[in-house]
């Protein structure tokens, strides 16, 4: 394979050269990767299997059946507290919006997933670390409501550092809002599947992301409540190898499956078809 021929050992940091635009490097093993093939491989390193973070738009394309996705997310953030740290929140928002071309840290809409009518919501880590403020909370609640009204399954791909500090208590309240909204799906017997990707921590893990009927996690993803830095400061010890990684969560019984991204859609479809009462028996579709 061409990629293997081109694979190079990671250079010592001193002699780092610029990698040409067409090429990128695996964050884990340092392999030189041809960008086009790397993308086609869903940002998984073909050499070592490391799962890199994936842009939200491509995540949608990867999971929704071709041509079925209709975006419904449309809300824009405000600055309800007039929050200023070293920079005003309003200014930070503008920067994130310019960088991502998105209004806030979530994109979602209706689609079919393996033919199952669904609402798909994908968090965008590139926007303020995927943090949940009022917009993310409201879009999730509306997504749930839409799924309940239209008899759709709900799929949420989480990627978030947690609740958004700059909306403070209002961000915290989104945890309760999103969690309570899920009751609508329970009442209608509609499936909710969540996919935890790198990283999923804080108020997102501790609310809707943890409450799905079936929870998938991507290999190596950092998943937890407190971030590793905070824990290290609290206990003043080094953390055990693999702590808070997807495989650790699987071992401790917190997630159903750790699934390679290249198999994720297939398994997701399987779960949705099993769960959705409106989908007839059709093994191996």
């Amino acid at each position: 394979m061409a990629l293997e021929r081109l694979f190079r050992r990671k250079r010592p940091s001193g002699e780092n050269r610029d990698v040409p635009e067409l090429w990128t490097k695996c964050e884990a093993c340092g392999a030189q990767l041809y960008k086009k093939e790397f993308k086609e491989n869903l940002y998984v390193c073909p050499k070592c299997g490391h799962h890199h973070r994936m842009p939200a738009a491509e995540r949608v394309a990867m999971l929704a059946d071709p041509g079925t996705f209709q975006e419904t997310t449309r809300l824009a953030p405000l600055d309800p507290l007039g929050f200023v740290d070293t920079k005003p929140y309003a200014e930070r928002l503008q920067t994130y919006q310019k960088e991502t071309g998105r209004k806030d840290a979530i994109v979602g809409g209706t689609c079919a997933i393996g033919g199952v009518p669904s609402v798909l919501l994908v968090m965008d880590y590139a926007f303020a670390g995927g943090s949940m403020g009022s917009v993310v909370g409201e879009e999730i609640a509306r997504g749930v409501e839409r799924a309940a009204e239209e008899g759709r399954a709900l799929v949420i791909v989480a990627a978030s550092g947690g609740a958004r500090m700059q909306e403070a208590a209002l961000s915290l309240m989104q945890m309760a809002k999103t969690v309570m909204s899920l009751d609508l799906l329970w009442a209608k017997r509609l499936p909710y599947v969540s996919v935890l990707t790198d990283p999923t921590t804080g108020g997102v893990t501790a609310s809707f992301a943890a409450l799905a009927d079936v929870i998938f996690a991507e290999p190596g993803a950092l998943i937890g409540f407190a971030g590793p830095r905070v824990i290290r400061q609290t206990i003043r010890q080094e953390l055990p190898e693999g702590f808070q990684r997807a495989e650790f969560l699987l071992k401790h019984g917190m997630v159903d499956r750790v699934t390679d991204r290249r198999r994720l859609k297939a398994e997701l479809v399987q779960a949705l078809r099993h769960l959705h009462p409106g989908v007839p028996y059709a093994p191996g579709v």
């Binding site: 449309r74 809300l75 824009a76 953030p77 405000l78 309800p80 507290l81 929050f83 200023v84 740290d85 070293t86 209004k103 009022s134 917009v135 909370g137 409201e138 609640a141 609740a163 958004r164 500090m165 909306e167 403070a168 208590a169 209002l170 961000s171 915290l172 309240m173 989104q174 945890m175 309760a176 809002k177 969690v179 309570m180 909204s181 899920l182 009751d183 921590t201 804080g202 108020g203 893990t205 501790a206 609310s207 809707f208 992301a209 943890a210 409450l211 937890g224 409540f225 407190a226 905070v230 824990i231 609290t234 206990i235 953390l239 055990p240 702590f243 808070q244 401790h252 019984g253 917190m254």
Partner: protein, 316 residues
């Protein structure tokens, strides 16, 4: 131990005390001087306590001697029977709960429990629960639903414990479950923020029909120190973070995050805990009365709508 900003008050009080002592022992008439100083003291108190900064309130919320859940249970409730354990792993001393009467009314109570001294604080993990604490809380929510008794929670935690064991046992999962369980209660639920309302660890027992907060308590998504450490890259900027987070009772009332403020005695609840606890009791009785008319389903809907409405965004 006096708080830094209270020192001028304490110094003046000391001087008045000394003058009184001198007058008593020497027989010299210092009445006029004392009265003058007492007037100054009143003005000083008004000036300091009437203009507390958010950071000063955070310090009051953590002041030793501030009423804890068990203090409130002992003084505002009758016949408290503490129940222990999560029926799965352990009993968490950072969350207490059980059965009690409030003016003759049967209620189920849960609350974070901080220690009242260093030794007890170590035992109670400074009021920072592990997953078993939230599982105990959920057990008690089940009990409230089963018997139809109102559920009352007291919030006073810097946050859920950020440690290896807590993560191994699914801290995020139990917090999410506790939020969900409390949201589904079919009985009146009232939460009172006594001191610190630190993030998800506080919200886990805060999904109530009415959320009350003591005048100097705080409630936010992160503590001012942690927020400062992340956004300012320096925990010492906590006073600025406290300002920016809008975490005071007044700010939270304006945002709709809390429904009512329970007044504290001058200088904070620790100056006169009995008075503060009495105020909590009166607020609880008023709020219970208010919720009495609602059916189980209406209580659920009321809570659902309360949290569904929170947030600020623009349609576009």
């Amino acid at each position: 131990m006096p708080l830094e900003f209270e020192k001028p008050i304490l110094e003046l009080e000391k001087r008045i005390q000394e003058l009184k002592e001198t007058a008593r022992t020497t027989g010299v008439d210092l009445e006029a001087e004392i009265r003058l100083l007492e007037e100054r003291l009143a003005r000083l108190k008004q000036e300091i306590y009437g203009n507390l900064t958010p950071w000063q309130r955070v310090q009051l919320a953590r002041a030793p001697g501030r009423p804890t859940t068990l203090d409130v249970l002992a003084k505002a409730f009758q016949d408290f029977l503490e129940l222990h354990g999560d029926r799965a792993f352990a009993d968490d001393p950072a969350i207490v709960g059980g059965l009690a009467y409030l003016e003759g009314q049967k209620v189920v109570v849960v609350g974070h429990q901080k220690g009242r001294d260093t030794k007890e604080n170590l035992q109670r993990n400074f009021g920072m629960p592990h997953p078993e604490g939230y599982r105990k809380a959920m057990r008690l929510m089940d009990l409230a639903d089963r018997f139809g008794y109102p559920f009352i929670s007291f919030i006073d935690t810097p946050g859920a414990y950020p440690g290896v064991s807590a993560e191994e046992r699914g801290q995020a999962w139990v917090i999410a479950q506790s939020i969900q369980r409390m949201g589904r209660l079919r009985v009146p639920a009232i939460a009172v923020i006594l001191g610190e309302g630190g993030s998800g660890g506080a919200l886990a027992i805060g999904v109530a029909n009415r959320v009350l907060i003591l005048e100097n308590a705080w409630y936010s998504v992160i503590s001012p120190e942690s927020c400062a450490a992340i956004l300012w890259r320096d925990a010492k900027e906590a006073p600025k973070a406290a300002e920016a987070l809008k975490l005071t009772a007044q700010d939270l009332l304006a945002l709709g995050v809390v429904d009512a403020i329970v007044p504290e005695p001058e200088g904070g609840a620790h100056k006169d805990p009995d008075r503060a606890i009495q105020n909590v009791k009166e607020a609880l009785l008023r709020t219970l009365e208010e919720l009495k008319a609602l059916s189980p389903e209406a209580l659920y809907q009321d809570r659902y709508r309360r949290f569904r409405a929170l947030g600020a965004y623009a349609e576009s």
